[in-house]
Symmetry: C2
Subunit: 174 residues, 2 copies
């Protein structure tokens, strides 16, 4: 019985530490289509990364737990409902100690794709949102900004509208 109580105590401690590690509530304005800023995304695991030479920026693509599970098991066409992809971009910078390395400079923007085949059926099953600059200003004048997102992603309709290919780490099969 003592062991049970000890386990419970440890479990509560684990949950408490998870709670206390979560982000404070912020007052970032929602996107014009009503999507709220996914606070805490920077703690998600890596899906991939890119260097966009046409935008002089480097990006890391993170995934929430549903997206990560899909990515690691190769079940991404289609991605499952509940998956969220976060693409964070920084202006590129030359590393002062290694001039052949292009690394992140200033934070530029963070973009999200949220998969929900019912809620976002009108925009190819994805909810799109972007916040730009350190002030995290929601992007778009009104909800019609989504049409630009859909248009840009339509060339990869056969990849469930996602450009990113998840990376494979070491021992994983590709």
């Amino acid at each position: 019985m003592k062991k049970t109580y000890l386990l419970c105590l440890c479990s509560v401690a684990v949950i408490w530490s998870e709670i206390s590690l979560s982000e404070p509530v912020t007052n970032i304005a929602p996107a014009p289509n009503g999507i709220e800023f996914p606070v805490g995304y920077k703690k998600w695991q890596v899906i991939s990364l890119s260097h966009r030479t046409d935008k002089d920026s480097v990006r890391v693509i993170l995934g929430n737990p549903i997206a990560i599970e899909a990515a690691r098991s190769g079940k991404t066409n289609p991605w499952p409902d509940g998956a969220i992809l976060a693409k964070t971009a920084w202006n590129q910078r030359i590393d002062e100690n290694w001039p052949a390395a292009v690394v992140p400079g200033e934070f530029w923007q963070v973009e999200f794709m949220i998969k929900d085949s019912k809620k976002y059926a009108a925009t190819k099953d994805w909810g799109f949102a972007r916040w730009r600059g350190k002030e995290l200003k929601p992007w778009g004048e009104d909800a019609s900004f989504e049409q630009g997102c859909v248009a840009c992603h339509t060339p990869v309709a056969n990849r469930d509208y996602v450009f990113t290919s998840p990376v494979f780490f070491d021992t994983e099969k590709k």
Copy 2:
């Protein structure tokens, strides 16, 4: 009392899911200096990323929880004992759907720096290790490979021998 039991049950479920999500034990050989492969590193959070144009590769740098806490609070000179940095590299690839984007191709290698000012005092307080290729072959003929690591990192001795600058996400102060 019922609530307590319910909480305990939930807590046990959380712990169980954490355990079941952990990596299976692998039989990857240790580095020639005795460092064991840090299984599970790919679940760590992002420290930074880079495009090494001199090596035609892209990299993501992840940190264990101690490293992440240090990075987010700017306490990285020196990094605290217990911090581990993992640099995973892939051969670069041009994205077939966005030719201006350089993205990860094949997995190339993963390198680690493990901070322990007592254990690794002889190598500037860091334990170095690298595993290369899908077969994760430990790098180095014998333990003397560390000297090459130290020599390469010595130009950044004033940054605690670490090239990487942690990225800052959105609302964080730089």
